[in-house]
Point group: C2
Chain length 297, copies 2
């Protein structure tokens, strides 16, 4: 607890990088080009927001860091696969990600397709390949939760709604529904799965933390929309302004920057209020919430 | 046991269709277009070879049909996702599958990408969403085995090797290595996972059945190569002769049709010899092996 938030964040980012390096097949193992590309897509970049949320969630139940690493790697692989596929020509057709050429640009389209496919499989393999809690039934439930959060009624469904919304005028509830699925589901699962790596909480506590996860997921997206509208490509490490260029509805296009900022502040406060009863054990999650609203990248 | 093989096969195909129908989100659930396309990709077609293998494997250990349905659906969803992605323009660029337009033709490329992604997730969700055996630790191991069979060191890795082999002159061991991964891994897993739904076998029995699965997997591919070279598109329900057109190495291109047929007979006999000690409980798997070598589609 003595480390500052920034030291803690650096530590988690570093241990996540190292855990991901071990969790992915080596680039010397056949098929080498595929494994090399999978490593390219996952390693050496990213803010590791979801692993940070897993570890912050784990603090609430005193979970072992090694278990949290396993969950964090699985979730980060799901996130990375979604970025690889999202960047492909038939989706967002983007050439830059985390300051580097996207996978289909660096390798080729067919490899990018397989990289995304194999990373998703690797996520479930990793989550089933070691203990993440004391109860195997709970581990099966956690695998199920990761699948729910990333499947057709979670992240992947959000992508599909996003596809269908290009050039559409969405209402605020429709936009929220899309984001609760597209980015929100995996962020929410990050906290929930981190929490489940440790001691059991009662149902009301679990429900409260689940709500915090939902709010942080939306907060993350509101901030993302503000950054996309305001930051430049060099700072973001990915193509800026592409929402407007792609005629995609965002919180900014719907509410304007000023109201979007206010909304973010309200969401942040709601999450902090919900975390207060958990006292010191919610320190990192509270700090992370404040960090998300302040982030510039 | 009184049903003929063809009655048994019809029964398994029918109950698989019905189990898949229940295992997939309804086309009326949002996002409706994605769910509709997922159902299009999975339902109303296919020989259901892998579900048949799951149920034949389950006969060896007296497994409950409902548990076998769950495993069969998960494996069939993995198989279906791989077909959807394999047919995309950046891979095989095929327009016909199971006698119908492929998903990216019937819908669009972005939807096909998401359909494949979401079907893979749905497979893991389904396998973690109900009991498939008595021991939760074994269920976790089964989830792990499905992931191993379908990931970068299984099916997906085989696809990557296949990609890299176009226009290459492969040796027979290299071709075998590719197919053990590309088609073999999931066929092998179908039998192994079916077996694990029932009572426990000793290690030697498990290893013997695993070997049978490996042989049947290769047999299936040899027959596939012969059919691709000889049958016509209408009979296959998918584009015939595309291996030669794509300059892909096959058992036929490497060995010629006559030797490929002999090899298939040898493999079939090896599998049957291994199954003999299991007596009556191996009836369906033995029948299925003989069916695979005789199949015309």
């Amino acid at each position: 607890m003595s480390a500052t938030f920034s030291q803690w964040m650096g530590d988690i980012q570093q241990r996540t990088e190292s855990a991901l390096d071990r969790a992915l097949p080596g680039a010397d193992i056949a098929p080498t080009r595929l494994h090399d590309a999978m490593r390219y897509a996952v390693l050496g970049g990213g803010k590791r927001v979801r692993p940070l949320l897993v570890h912050a969630g784990g603090q609430l139940t005193g979970a072992a860091p090694e278990r949290l690493d396993r969950v964090a790697c699985a979730i980060e692989m799901i996130h990375a696969y979604s970025l690889v596929h999202d960047d492909m020509p038939c989706m967002d057709d983007d050439v830059l990600r985390r300051g580097k050429p996207t996978v289909h640009v660096e390798y080729d389209e067919a490899t990018a397709l397989l990289v995304g496919d194999a990373l998703q499989t690797q996520a479930f393999l990793h989550l089933a390949d070691g203990a993440v809690c004391d109860d195997p039934q709970r581990q099966i439930a956690m695998i199920r939760q990761l699948a729910q959060a990333s499947g057709s009624r979670g992240m992947c469904g959000g992508q599909a709604i996003d596809l269908g919304s290009v050039g559409q005028q969405l209402t605020l509830p429709e936009l929220e529904f899309m984001h609760i699925h597209k980015t929100g589901a995996l962020i929410r699962a990050s906290i929930n799965l981190g929490v489940q790596c440790g001691r059991s909480l009662d149902e009301a506590q679990m429900a409260s933390l689940d709500h915090v996860g939902k709010v942080i997921g939306l907060l993350f997206q509101v901030v993302d929309d503000i950054l996309d509208a305001e930051a430049d490509t060099a700072t973001l490490g990915k193509t800026a302004g592409k929402d407007a260029a792609n005629d995609k509805p965002t919180y900014v296009s719907l509410l304007g920057v000023t109201r979007a900022r206010e909304l973010a502040e309200e969401m942040c406060q709601e999450a902090l209020d919900r975390l207060a009863p958990f006292g010191d054990s919610s320190q990192r999650l509270a700090e992370l919430t404040r960090f998300i609203i302040r982030r510039q990248f």
